[in-house]
Subunit: 202 residues, 2 copies
């Protein structure tokens, strides 16, 4: 899939179950196939933040995710590991967090600048969809100084939903992967994003 | 390490960073080396619960952990995957959860019976130790019907701390691994546990 779509995207995400299945080989293989792309290792680190950040960055990831539910010490250790390496950054991943705004202040105090606002796969399949409350929370997080990536069940029809909100990264999985021509679909997403945000997103 | 200590223990745990590093190969390798031991795959599933449970059980794990912060749908899907396979069970892993008792009721409603009460690695190294509040919470969880495994920074001197509490599994890592004779140390833990709980724990 990376070989099919890499010319159309800026970032390639390694999903959590793929990492669980084959380890950091998933990251190092994509790094070899796509040397000039940003790689987001979505490994949702829950603990042992320094070591897991080291594993991800050593394998070639530019960005890795730390679980929002992780202890603050874990966030701090992963952040320190990233800060010591040029171009490396951590994202807080919000799966399952109920008190986002209260915790967000703690993460900002550590120095974290990025976040994946995520509607979980299981939630998306079974009971939860995007709503006005998500948009309001995202706006508050941006006001606090975060750059927000959005992820989870995003189809082409959902892009205008975020209109007027300064989204930093759209993480699109199934809606590209499960189409007959993933490269063409990725181009459609690119065009739709450019339509609302211009071509200078980042 | 598994080869050194497997005769002295009932359960071998695959830790989260090892799984992140090499994937389910860590589980299948231990399954091959130790065909008659229980394997706990501590993969702290945060989402996509059905698939991650399937990966762990297919690789040979008897038990796997689901993150307490995971959405309830994720817990439910992992639980259903385990329930469909004889002898397979899920543990809720409590890293970073602040409202344990409120959530515990939701997990019991799904049917979950086991839990890892965990003092995180990073917390243990930096700022948190075991205390009376942990014991009180563990007692309440046992009263609710849970079987409790304890994990995190447990040395031989900590075993008596749990005296009188019906702990189901002690997860010991560094305190066995980082000793000159890990097998002898594991035997010492076994003797200390038997001293307080008899030899019929499970």
């Amino acid at each position: 899939m990376a070989q099919l779509v890499h010319k159309e995207v800026e970032v390639i995400e390694i999903g959590t179950p793929l990492n669980k299945a084959v380890g950091m080989l998933a990251v190092s293989t994509i790094r070899e196939l796509c040397p000039d792309k940003l790689i987001l290792a979505d490994i949702k680190t829950p603990d042992v933040g320094g070591l897991e950040a080291q594993l991800a960055f050593d394998a070639g990831a530019d960005w890795m995710t730390v679980l929002g539910a992780a202890p603050l010490d874990t966030v701090r250790l992963a952040f320190e590991e990233a800060s010591a390496r040029p171009g490396k950054e951590i994202f807080i991943e919000l799966t399952g967090i109920r008190d986002i705004l209260a915790r967000a202040r703690e993460w900002r105090d550590i120095g974290v600048e990025r976040m994946v606002y995520h509607r979980g796969w299981d939630e998306g399949n079974l009971s939860r969809s995007w709503g006005q409350q998500d948009l309001d929370t995202i706006r508050e997080l941006i006001d606090m100084g975060f750059k927000i990536a959005v992820a989870g069940g995003l189809g082409l029809d959902m892009i205008p939903f975020f209109k007027g909100v300064d989204i930093s990264v759209f993480v699109i999985g199934r809606a590209i992967r499960e189409t007959p021509d993933p490269a063409a679909t990725a181009r459609q997403f690119r065009a739709e994003i450019d339509r609302y945000w211009g071509s200078a997103s980042g």
